[in-house]
Subunit: 418 residues, 2 copies
């Protein structure tokens, strides 16, 4: 039987299903009699020796973790530099790992985290310490290389498509005497994945969303407003989905066009939807509503995708298996073997191929006119939002999300002066 | 058997369950062999003689209507003046009703609509035409008098409480190195009902939402910022729920403090959440995220409350029964007979007691410090979000919402010159 302890940590923006990966990691490790510690707030907890003893959690709590959004152990936005530049940190990290007999390190995150995992995976050789480091994929941004998709994206995509379909029915009912245009702002500073997912809400050009604005296409205000006008004339109303990352042809972010300071010197927090809504109001004189779901879209476990949920658990389970086999410096990735019927499997990919690469949004996913998605996009996106994976609800009408005890492990080292 | 046709219309802002009332109206009328027409876009369709023949819809479509958000026949924001001031409109309305043998008029809406229904109910006598007019309650604002609650509110309340609970888990995970404060803007220009519903997401002062801002309490920026600071120091992070209608002590809306025009003369659409977030950022220097769900909160049929859904259908069914009994000028209202176990029944209330009255948010629902809800509020609100009433989903991962055929009835009158 394998010996040594497994350390699991969550990193970067959390999602509706990252805890499902955590639950699968702990469940699989328990089945194999491996002790699991969790770092509080990602790599920070590992450096600070703030470790959580997951063996104090009941089996029921670990099962409930699988349907609880957020990051149960805390996450962080911290990126380690190279071994040379951050040598003191790596030495501290290794000291903590040694002190707690950690032989397996699982880092659950997105692009930056894959980079961190890759760097940590190099420690074994550099410091001659037997450590197996595995990256576990997660991000609503869907921009990790190699893997077919990233756990977290499918649920955010489902939230987006469902919300847009619902809001569109509202606008359609109000349009005759009230709101004619509705603008939905989707996450995606660098790529149009979530904005594209909104496209699943409708099939034809007359079905909402009528216009999608991608960061991959320059924002042309005159053309956009002309499209809105034409849509309202044709359909009676118009639903716009805008990616937060849309840019003018010269590369400036549209989100920065709004906002700034008001006459009192107060910060005005703008955003793309509020800006576009203001332009529609000013230039077309139409009543407009807009929404910025922000964190709601990535934490909406209540409308999680079953595909996404299953994949989140599968990568967690596989990560433990790879770790125990000593497959250092890999990440369990999702490989799609068939679109229809939708089939996928998990494979180990070298972290070097994932870290510091970015999956770009394919140009072939954007309709020729630039305002919608293609059939190719639908073929890719549709299975990712398939199936419902409802959390259980209490008699109080609220989802039963678990709050772990998160019992701290006794520190063995002096405090970190990082 | 009763003779004559029933005309049903939807009015005001639509909700996740107004179509459930419509479905119940049509189902009950069909069972009693009463023909149901629907006005396109509320009272406007009645004036324009734009009527829809609901008999063209299949039984399956009417069943599906019960789980479809929005307003299937279109709604409107139009208020009729007094019989004297708008006599031409009332005469036209009566001409349309007569032309189509309409003996029962059901108007499904909020406060303004109850007023319209009450005025129409007076037509019978004024014009000596046998018309029975019934108001059917609906509004996420929950401000109708007499009734215990308004169909539509419970589902928006459930959306609010669930979304706040989920986003809070996200913020809690990010707070160590990123977002420390999250601001959620709830609908409610005049009353804090939906903001209060967010309070159901937590039980103690350390559970989110930590601070609720009610329109019933003057907004005191210095105190608010001090509370945010204290909460972050105590809990590590802070979730704020602000009603869109919060005001300064002098009555100015906080929402109007943001927004205005930017240096290009462009309209800046602000809102309460973005403004508060800007103040937190400027004054406390904390990283802050904010959300404006807007229409998402009132159209989110995917997370509808079962209580709300059942009540929406119950008022629709009762409205038809009252109509056929000739109970003119009434509204089926919800009477709560017990908090625990939660029990309710439907009764007929005079429209005169509903129209032009407003149910105020009870001061006893606000905690002494002004930033939370009391046990009294919980007792009232909790049963309203109880139970799930999921729509069916397709293999595409999206809710199966129905689009009715909405076949137009042939016009019999000259066009309306209103």
């Amino acid at each position: 039987m394998a010996s040594g302890t497994l350390l699991y940590a969550q990193s970067g923006g959390v999602t509706a299903v990252i805890n499902a990966s955590a639950s699968a990691v702990i469940t699989e490790a328990r089945a194999r009699k491996i002790k699991v510690l969790a770092a509080r707030n990602g790599i920070l907890g590992a450096l600070r020796e703030e470790l959580i003893d997951t063996s104090k959690e009941s089996a029921a709590a670990i099962r409930a973790l699988a349907h609880t959004p957020g990051g149960a152990f805390g996450s962080c936005r911290v990126k380690l530099k190279s071994l040379e530049a951050d040598r003191a940190k790596y030495e501290r990290l290794l000291a903590v790992l040694k002190a707690h007999d950690v032989r397996y390190f699982l880092y659950n995150g997105g692009n930056d985290s894959a980079d961190t995992a890759w760097k940590v995976s190099q420690l074994a050789q550099a410091f001659d310490y037997p450590l197996t480091c595995i990256g576990v994929p997660k991000t609503v941004d869907n921009d990790l290389a190699v893997t077919d998709t990233c756990p977290g994206f499918g649920s955010a995509a489902k939230y987006t498509a469902v919300s847009v379909r619902e809001a569109a029915l509202d606008v359609a009912a109000m349009a005759e005497t009230s709101t004619k245009v509705f603008v939905y702002e989707a996450m995606g500073r660098h790529a149009g994945w979530l904005a594209a997912a909104a496209g699943l809400a409708g099939q034809t050009r007359d079905e909402a969303p009528h216009l999608i604005l991608f960061p991959e296409r320059p924002y042309d205000e005159a053309d956009f407003l002309a499209q809105v006008k034409k849509t309202v004339e044709r359909v009676g109303w118009c639903v716009v989905v805008a990616s937060e990352g849309i840019q003018y042809a010269d590369g400036r972010f549209v989100a920065d066009a709004g906002g700034g300071k008001d006459s009192f010197g107060h910060t005005q927090l703008g955003g793309v939807a509020s800006y576009l809504a203001g332009r529609v109001k000013d230039q077309l004189g139409m009543k407009v509503h807009w929404t910025l779901p922000d964190y709601l879209q990535r934490s909406a476990r209540h409308i999680a995708s079953k595909t996404d949920w299953e994949q989140a658990q599968a990568v967690g389970k596989a990560a433990v298996q790879y770790a125990l086999k000593g497959q250092n410096a890999v990440m369990p990735v999702i490989v799609r073997t068939s679109d229809a019927p939708f089939r996928w499997k998990i494979e180990a990919a070298p972290l070097s191929k994932v870290a510091n690469h970015e999956k770009k949004f394919p140009p072939a996913f954007i309709r020729k006119d630039g305002y919608g998605i293609t059939d190719k996009a639908r073929t890719y996106l549709q299975p990712l939002i398939r199936g419902e994976a409802y959390p259980p609800y209490g008699a109080d009408g609220l989802p039963k999300y678990v709050a772990l005890k998160n019992v701290a492990v006794k520190k063995k080292l002096p405090a970190w002066e990082g």
